[in-house]
């Protein structure tokens, strides 16, 4: 059996919890149709963020979308947030069965 799948991009953003509402509003404006958020902690160039309180907590956002939209999301993050916020973002390739959904 071979399932007919199509390729899409997965954007993962790891950043400060304080940005959650702002980013999700941005995403809405950029016509993102869906996203998933979970809580995280971590370490990076902005130091240890151990989630002891909201100020030191991270979130992890995932968006599945077309390659084009993925690139414009990354571009948007780079322009507006990379300089001032604890943030990491990356792209991955995924296969989905309902291509029209993403």
């Amino acid at each position: 059996m071979t399932l007919p799948t199509e390729h899409r991009s997965l954007v993962v953003v790891i950043t400060e919890t304080a940005l959650e509402q702002t980013l999700l509003r941005d995403f809405d404006r950029l016509a993102v149709r869906g996203y998933t958020v979970s809580d995280a902690r971590g370490k990076g160039t902005h130091g240890v963020r151990d989630a002891a309180w909201d100020e030191a907590a991270n979130i992890r956002i995932e968006v599945i979308c077309s390659r084009d939209q993925a690139e414009s999301l990354l571009q948007h993050l780079q322009t507006h947030y990379y300089a001032d916020f604890a943030m990491v973002a990356f792209l991955q390739d995924v296969e989905v069965v309902r291509p029209d959904k993403f």
Binding site: G47, A52, W53, E55
Partner: protein
């Protein structure tokens, strides 16, 4: 004698500095915050339900001016003496021009343990004083340009967790009055001090994480974190005398003025002045000013109040 709730703070601080494995769940910290804000609000609202509200207005105007004055003073010190950049100075100044609910709660507890009363409007003053420093800080950082999304910001500020819970609690306390509140007092009144103790244990752990940052920053930030509350306290004391507060009210307003925000303001500055480094402001407000105020400051401010201002309990 040092209050038992402050001992919990000292314990948390010590455990954090000794790198103990002790870690409280994040949901507990959030729950304790919600509880304390609601309880403070209810108590204030209950008091207000027994007095006319109109005379409050000039008092609120006075404390707004107090918040603005503190922010400008802090900005001048940070720019002039500390050689901070504009954004960092503005953001840090906003922390010091605003207030800390946790410090207020310790002050309330200090007075309650000693049976010293205070005006119920102190709660509304607490809620009101959170805000002006944020506005001033943003204008200091940005000018009055169009870059700032004031609508979003007003939303974040007035409908943030802290202000919502304080005002909501006050509204409930005011509407229900002393009798109506009776059924919920076993939770919101009787458990207040014990809950505050647990909260301060967690605060001690959080404060202990600021030490690394403080070490990186050197002595100016330590000095500022100690001097600024004292200057603010004097401004607060003067304001309190001008608006005719009782001894307990004076102590609380002085404490409020001396306190520096570490919840509402960091969140607002993060979004409105993102280029400011949040670690510096937090290290000063949480790492120096908060412990100073709750351990040494509050008794000292009360002594100031009773001796210099001549107020009697």
């Amino acid at each position: 004698m040092i209050d038992v709730v402050v001992l919990f703070f000292v314990f948390g601080l010590a455990a954090g500095l000794a790198r103990s494995e002790l870690k409280l769940p994040g949901a507990l910290y959030e729950t304790l915050t919600v509880f304390l804000l609601l309880a403070i609000g209810l108590k204030g609202g209950e008091g207000l339900s027994r007095q006319p509200l109109a005379p409050l207005l000039p008092q609120l105007a006075a404390v707004i001016a107090l918040g603005v004055a503190q922010t400008l003073l802090a900005y001048a010190l940070l720019r002039g003496v500390g050689r901070f950049g504009r954004s960092d100075a503005a953001a840090t100044a906003a922390h010091y021009g605003s207030v800390s609910v946790a410090t207020f709660a310790v002050g309330m507890n200090w007075l309650a343990v000693r049976n010293i009363g205070f005006e119920p409007q102190m709660t509304i003053i607490l809620a009101v004083m959170e805000v002006p420093a944020i506005m001033v800080g943003i204008v200091l950082a940005r000018g009055i340009g169009k870059q700032t999304d004031w609508r979003t910001l007003a939303h974040e500020t007035f409908l943030g967790k802290g202000v919502t819970l304080l005002l909501g609690g006050m509204a409930i306390g005011w509407a229900a009055g002393p009798d109506g509140l009776a059924p919920v007092k076993p939770v919101f009144y009787d458990l207040f001090k014990g809950t505050l103790a647990l909260f301060l244990l967690e605060m001690g752990l959080i404060v202990s994480r600021q030490i690394g940052e403080l070490r990186k920053r050197g002595w100016f930030i330590v000095g500022f974190g100690l001097l600024m509350p004292l200057l603010s306290a004097l401004l607060g004391l003067a304001t309190g005398m001008a608006i005719g507060l009782s001894a307990g009210g004076l102590t609380l307003l002085t404490t409020l003025a001396a306190s520096a925000s570490y919840i509402a303001v960091p969140a607002a500055m993060r979004l409105a002045v993102p280029e400011a480094n949040p670690a510096v402001s937090l290290a000063a407000a949480l790492g120096i000013t908060f412990p100073f105020n709750i351990i040494v400051g509050i008794p000292f401010y009360h002594w100031l109040t009773t001796s210099i201002a001549g107020a009697t309990p």
